[in-house]
């Protein structure tokens, strides 16, 4: 039977469609903007694609409370435009798509746990979501959390569903915390050809009391740079301080860019690959030089969050296995973008199965006992 596609207009419709499919033993794949549709382990075409396109309303924007409630299908870009009109933002800036696509939705960003340079200061999606509404395979519509930024009542299922790749149920809406949108910003950029120097400078900047918005690295073709963004009342002064620290750490040249939009757009774009492979690496921040060395050995290029140890390496698909073995012990390397051949050949999630895998299987079994929700795409075949 060819795959069916449904675009529900309400939470109840979405839950009913999911429940019907699950009861019939069919697999269901939720889809937002479709910009990360191939992430995860390769699976055969789903029986039902549940599109969130008509769950596209901003249900609440509580300006005075700096919170919002968004349906899953809201395009992140549209939401940001609305928040910006009130001088606010959702501090979440992942790439909005590959090849100029800008269709990433809030549901898709949450389901994949994707983020961008602002993660340095504001955290990942799991740190910004304060409540969630989901549909489960038996048709249950459940809520967890709330719409206030501080709340410890009940289990934090918003975090559980964030990054779960649609394998526990379908995200219908999310409550998020917003932040003031900075009126002015500037970025200090320092350059070097030595990975060790870049790593030392990154630690110096990460340890400085500058309250940077973003602290990123970039590396390609034997050269790298450190990018430190300040915003607020006096961004220029802080950028100069960041620049001074970079010089002291041996970066050269070092410049302050008041018009930094392009710089950061490039960092975000570096988190995607059209054609090659894109691997997300998690290591200790102090292992940056080793991660760069492993990237260089595979003729790759890298962008990343210096203080978080999170890097994105783009390289030839044939080099992924070697990259993985060259990374420091304990590092995690998850393949995001990749041609289908590579995805079929190696486990995108990495081979090291943690001690928590059995527990994750039990969680999956409790939330989706029919095994209908995006089966097989997740860690360990979940």
């Amino acid at each position: 039977m060819p795959g069916q596609e449904l675009t529900p207009e309400s939470f109840e419709q979405a839950a009913a469609s999911l429940a019907q499919a699950a009861a019939a033993g069919r697999s269901v794949h939720p889809r937002g903007g479709g910009t990360k549709d191939d992430w995860g382990a390769p699976v055969s075409a789903p029986d039902l694609v549940l599109r969130t396109a008509r769950l596209g309303r901003v249900l609440e924007h509580n300006v005075g409370d700096l919170t919002a409630v968004l349906e899953a299908g809201v395009r992140l870009e549209d939401a940001q435009e609305q928040f910006a009109r009130a001088g606010q933002m959702l501090a979440l800036d992942p790439p909005l798509g590959r090849d100029g696509q800008r269709d990433a939705t809030i549901g898709g960003v949450l389901a994949t746990g994707d983020s961008g340079p602002l993660r340095h200061r504001y955290g990942a999606p799991r740190d910004l979501i304060v409540g969630i509404t989901v549909a489960l395979g038996d048709g249950t519509i459940a809520r967890a959390g709330g719409k206030v930024i501080k709340n410890v009542a009940g289990y934090d299922l918003a975090k559980l569903f964030t990054g779960s790749f649609g394998t526990l149920g379908v995200i219908l809406s999310a409550s998020v915390r917003l932040h003031p949108r900075p009126e002015a910003a500037a970025t200090a950029v320092g350059t070097t050809a030595r990975p060790e120097t870049l790593a030392t400078a990154a630690i110096a900047l990460a340890s400085a009391p500058l309250e940077l918005d973003c602290l990123d690295v970039a590396w390609s073709d034997g050269r790298g740079s450190l990018l430190a963004r300040s915003s607020g009342a006096e961004p220029a002064e802080r950028s100069e301080r960041a620049a001074a620290l970079m010089r002291a750490a041996g970066l050269h040249p070092v410049e302050v860019e008041p018009e930094d939009h392009e710089l950061w757009e490039r960092q975000r774009a570096g988190q995607r690959s059209a054609g090659a492979a894109l691997v997300r690496v998690a290591a200790r921040p102090s292992e940056l030089a080793q991660v760069i060395a492993a990237c260089e050995a595979g003729a790759g290029r890298l962008v990343g969050r210096a203080a978080l140890g999170s890097s994105f390496v783009e390289l030839d698909p044939g080099e992924v296995a070697r990259l993985r073995s060259a990374l420091p012990g304990g590092a995690v390397a998850v393949v995001l973008d990749a041609p289908p051949e590579l995805r079929a050949e190696l486990d995108p999630w990495g081979s090291g199965e943690g001690t928590a895998l059995e527990l994750m299987r039990r969680v999956k079994a409790r939330f989706d006992p029919a095994g209908a929700c995006n089966p097989g795409v997740f860690v360990g075949g979940i």
Partner: protein, 481 residues
Amino acid sequence: MPVSARLLGRLEHICGGEHVLTHRHALATYRSDGLAQYQVTPAAAVLPGTAEQVRDVVRACYEAGVPWVARGAGTGLSGGALPVSDGVLIVLARMRRILSVALEDQQVVVEPGVTNLAVSRAVAPTHFYPPDPSSQIVCSIGGNVAENSGGAHCFKYGFTTNYVTGLEVVLSDGEVVQLDRDAPGYDLLGAFVGSEGTLGVATRITLRVTPMPEHVRTLVAFFEDTAQAGEAVTAIVSAGIVPGAIEMMDRLSIEAAEAATNAGYRLDAGAALIVELDGPRIECQARFEQVAALCAESGGRHIRIAAGAPERELIWKARRAAFAAMGRIAPAYYVQDGVIPRTRLAAVLRRIDELAAEYGLQVANVFHAGDGNLHPLVCFDAARPGEPERAEELAGEIVRACVDAGGSITGEHGVGVDKKAHMPAMFSECDLDTFQRLRCAFDPLGLANPGKVMPTPRLCGEVPGPYREHPLERAGVAERF
């Protein structure tokens, strides 16, 4: 199943006889946590010294079918560490080692009994650990993890859950799992933090620390009433300013705190607002002038700016003393922990005033104004017949007013036993059943901290449906797609 002599023997073998308490007098200390109105004597208390001992204790309980409750420093305010009478209390107070400090990675690894303040001390003077519950001198990191503790600085810096990057957890069957923020898979770390001891016990905790701000400025402004002070809060936050802390006290709590501390708070004011900015010096200066101006514009009279560290300490002393100082106003009080959307502050406080008048009781208010977390203190005299019951009822009404305003029954103290009856005000049966799915995945027999969080006991059935792991899958021979 009651605790048998055989189980006690095993516990003594695991932890050493001196670390297993069964005598009524020895157990008296552990009958309650920071919420003394609930008291239960456990069948036994054990004080393991290592993660392996914790694992073995939990496994022994599992094999005997005996429930257990983990306890840190016992400072919790929701009865989350209240023992069960036919179970074992696992006291983690002996596990106080700081296992590693790696400032280059902004990371600290600790055992669960380490105090909150000890983490900040271990990384001083360059760094600090931001979530700072007011019990931080004694409260344990393990307890903070269980409760997802907040504090005065979490509006800007976030909560415990934003700082825990790794956990070693003993599940209720004695299995040990590592939960890591960066590991692929479900965010079980996020689900565990704040689960109030019902999903297992953390034996090793990895925390992120952050650079110490280079500059701090503090002021306290006095207002006509809380509504006016609330306007100042809105004005500050709307200006895009994120204070390190922003705390409000009403007339009654000012009176009590001032009597206890002589901090120089104005007794003719209806509300006091403490605003603290921290961060890069120049940013802090610019914003601080703005804050002072906004306080004045909102009607703030008598704005007192701390000239230095001693004066800042004095301003905070009064705020921190507010709870304890209530003893001067009333012999006893219930403290609530409701949260409201900040913009509903004036309306909810008005409702609280109405309710207080209706019940003929005094309610003092102290709150974390930035994130809308109220701590109404419902005063009562237990010697007056019926008054404790009335106070409890009033406290419940206040919680419901918070939920009605779009808020939460608890912002940082946890549900525990104290607020579980209020869970249905916030969550439907479907929501609660969905919570239970998580619980069942972690602890199908319900041995870990039973009777907490959920309003009514729920059992876990067998995993329904076709997804049972195939033996070949378990052996890693086949994968499921």
